[in-house]
């Protein structure tokens, strides 16, 4: 039996993507460079790459501390390749825990001053695994509506009741905690830095409310590790409440400069997660070179006060420079190493993104559903290795591109 065209169309599982396919077709038919298909042909340093044959300043990499080309970090990876091979070919709980996996977990425990550290193969899997495993049937997860996709997916994978509240709204969070039935387990999920607009959470106030209602608190510090706080432990450290956080989630793919994810905790029963957390158990562990580069990088980040200070200077300078030239930014004041430039719509956002690329500048084009309130954003993430001169060059590129596209 053969199906008619109409039947084929109705049962094609890809029909659901038609609106997105059409939106992409319309955008690319204008002849614009595809913003989601750029290739870095050569990477010269944490802040410069070659794209389309042109030397390009990188301002959208999350490489906050510029550790990707640190000589000690690179050397540790090369040595590990020689000594341990290219991969572990196994789960952490079987043949996939090497000396390097232990070493990076030791480094994390020291970095945060916590009792336990558990390393996952990506940051996404860290959220997926921890959230879906600790919040089960009958428990309640109370989370910020602007949470990262990995947090939402962790909620979806578990069996807990999921209750979102308005972004950074302490009262809205409190109301929801108050209404949870007595006796139910509660997990509050917050982020230190929200990566789309680059704003931070009032963790001190929110964690106090969460604790008053008997909730455990998980804070994702992916975008603050290494940079924010006196020791680079994140926004919770900066606000003096790190000791109140039950679970810190983080990643190696930003300040640490490689790939991987982790959770640190002081919970006395934490180690049992290694046996029950499926995204930890049922996947291969990180390659030896990755965990050795991560361990070396984390230890260097403990003593990176000067780099942190320079990164703050870069953030202040870029925020002030773009504001002065008439751009609308995601935050009134610089709160992190992310400066988000709000675009009027996707079309002009894509035009501005391309104009910047022609100037020799790479930023992230972010659009719904990743962005809040349907916004199109040009997201800039600064690096401690951007020189003061590079930041001035960047401001000049934005000014020319913005004028050419008619945004300022």
């Amino acid at each position: 039996m053969t199906m008619t065209d109409a039947e084929t169309l109705a049962t094609d599982l890809f029909s659901k993507f038609d609106p997105l396919i059409e939106q992409r077709r319309a955008l690319l038919s204008t002849g614009i460079t595809d913003p989601f298909n750029l290739v870095m042909e050569k990477v010269l340093s944490p802040t410069v790459a070659v794209c389309n044959g042109r030397e390009t300043i990188l301002l959208g990499t999350y490489n906050y501390m510029g550790m990707t080309f640190d000589p000690d970090v690179v050397a540790a990876g090369k040595l590990a390749l020689d000594e341990f091979g290219s991969g572990t070919t196994g789960s952490r709980v079987l043949n996939g825990t090497y000396a390097g996996h232990r070493a990076v977990e030791d480094a994390l425990r020291e970095f945060y001053g916590f009792d336990h550290a558990m390393v996952f193969s990506t940051g996404y899997q860290a959220n997926l695994g921890i959230i879906s495993t600790i919040a089960g049937k009958g428990d309640y997860i109370v989370l910020d509506i602007d949470s990262h996709a990995s947090i939402w997916d962790g909620c979806k994978m578990g069996d807990a009741e999921v209750v979102p509240f308005k972004h950074n709204d302490i009262e809205a969070m409190e109301k929801r905690l108050r209404r949870i039935p007595a006796g139910a387990g509660k997990l509050v999920i917050l982020e230190g830095v929200y990566s789309m607009l680059g704003d931070i959470a009032p963790l001190k106030e929110m964690i106090a409310v969460a604790k008053a209602h008997g909730a455990m608190v998980l804070v994702d510090e992916a975008h603050s590790m290494g940079f924010i706080g006196p020791n680079g432990r994140g926004v919770a450290e900066d606000q003096g409440v790190l000791d109140q956080v039950d679970f810190v989630i983080g990643t190696f793919s930003k300040s640490v400069g490689t790939v991987g994810g982790f959770c640190v905790s002081n919970h006395p029963k934490f180690e049992i997660l290694r046996l029950v957390c499926r995204p930890y158990v049922f996947t291969a562990s990180l390659p030896p070179s990755v965990v050795h580069t991560a361990a070396t990088s984390i230890r260097k980040l403990m003593h990176a006060g000067n780099k942190r200070a320079h990164l703050w200077e870069n953030s202040l300078t870029l925020h002030a420079g773009l504001t002065a030239r008439g751009f609308t930014l995601g935050t009134k004041t610089p709160q992190s190493a992310i400066i988000s430039v709000i675009m009027p719509d996707l079309e002009r956002g894509a035009m501005m993104w391309e104009a910047l690329l022609h100037e020799g500048l790479y930023v992230n084009l972010a659009r719904p559903p990743a962005t809040p309130a349907g916004m199109t954003l040009l997201r800039c993430s600064l690096c401690a290795e951007h020189s003061a001169e590079q930041v001035q060059t960047i401001i000049g590129m934005f000014e020319r591109a913005g004028a050419a596209v008619g945004i300022i």
Binding site: Y140, I145, C155, E161, V162, V163, P164, F165, K166, A172, K175, R176, R179, I180, P372, A373, G374
Partner: protein, 79 residues
């Protein structure tokens, strides 16, 4: 409290979100007829939760597509 009372109070709450002026019946759908996006849904759910002092978790919201289903769910949650 009975269903009619719940329905009347929800009808009052829905008005500021009903930008298209759709006539509200039990069969009206939030996504289809009212064309609400996720942010509007969140604000509306928050208004309902505050009015009745209840939680409508996302798991429960996934089962609610029409106005009538919402009234039933709120009536049930109020106990």
């Amino acid at each position: 409290m009975d269903r009619a009372d719940t329905s009347a109070r929800i009808a009052d709450l829905i008005a500021p979100f009903n930008k298209k002026g759709i006539i509200i019946t039990d069969a009206v759908t939030f996504a289809g007829d009212l064309e609400w996006d996720s942010l509007t849904v969140m604000d509306f759910v928050a208004a309902i939760e505050d009015e009745f002092d209840i939680i409508i978790s996302m798991n429960q919201q996934a089962e609610i597509e029409t106005y009538g289903q919402l009234v039933d769910a709120v009536t049930r949650l109020r106990g």
